[in-house]
Symmetry: C2
Subunit: 166 residues, 2 copies
């Protein structure tokens, strides 16, 4: 199986979370933390935790997709994170907070659904040696565009924007 096929397989888990978020009326962003994605087979790739943005459901300003996935994975030894990939549906690189969480734990690889709408911290991640892989996933893009069109204010709140720029 190619790396891209493994990444797509992992992305399916994050997309399930995002779809569940959309069903709940939440920001439709999901993420999942996987161990050993580089071994080239779903059999050797282990899901450690998956989650979705909880701004609306739990009134949480800190549970984005990635932090929710880290929270679901729970406490892990530092050397486990270093063999992980964070997969997220969001159609952009991770925001400052989620990028910071990825850097804190030394997660070496991030797979994102697509790269539009919100610039995020791709440059910071790359400068610190994190591999950022962009999968062109139509479902990820569609979930986000629908949400942003229908809930521009909640989207701005999620990315810390006053909305004046948009």
């Amino acid at each position: 199986m190619s790396q891209s096929e493994v990444d797509t397989y992992c992305m399916a888990t994050a997309i399930q979370e995002a779809v569940q978020g959309a069903d709940e009326g939440g920001v439709p962003i999901g993420a999942a933390l996987f161990l050993n994605t580089h071994l080239g087979s779903p059999d050797q790739t282990k899901l450690l935790g998956a989650g979705r943005n909880q701004r609306i459901q739990k009134g949480s300003p800190t549970l984005h997709g990635e932090t929710a996935a880290l929270e679901a994975a729970g406490r892990l030894p530092a050397n486990v994170y270093r063999k992980c990939t964070m997969v997220r549906t969001k159609i952009s690189p991770p925001c400052s907070m989620c990028s910071g969480a990825i850097l804190l734990y030394g997660i070496p690889r991030v797979v994102i659904g697509e790269n539009k709408n919100f610039v995020g911290e791709e440059e910071l991640l790359r400068a610190r040696g994190v591999e950022v892989v962009v999968l062109g996933d139509k479902k990820c893009e569609e979930l986000m565009s629908t949400f942003i069109n229908e809930h521009p204010e909640e989207w701005n709140e999620d990315i810390g924007e006053t909305g004046e720029k948009l």
Copy 2:
């Protein structure tokens, strides 16, 4: 009242959280988000949320002092964060994740207890225009040194370190 006196007044709230964390057997780091600290008086300064590291108490890898304070403050409009100061007891600048949360929400000012042991993201915060103020607070330092001496493994886990470097 001088700015430093207001900051010290705010720090007392973060220290209460850290002491409670220590009493619970947790990582003794507290933080608090305050609105309008720059107005020079505790009367005009409003506590929006305070929290403490929850790694041990809740098995949480994402609730550090600052993220716990943000979580306690709940959902806020973007323009509120821009008038806030984040005060934290930790004797170092915020870690990547907490710095990222500060950058995400555009919090313009961070007050820290002291600056030792763990370098954090002071440079990144300053490069992005965040004011970082160091208060020399003996209580903050004492809480941390006791914890690090007694629980070096849990401290390394909290900062994403394997412990090999220490």
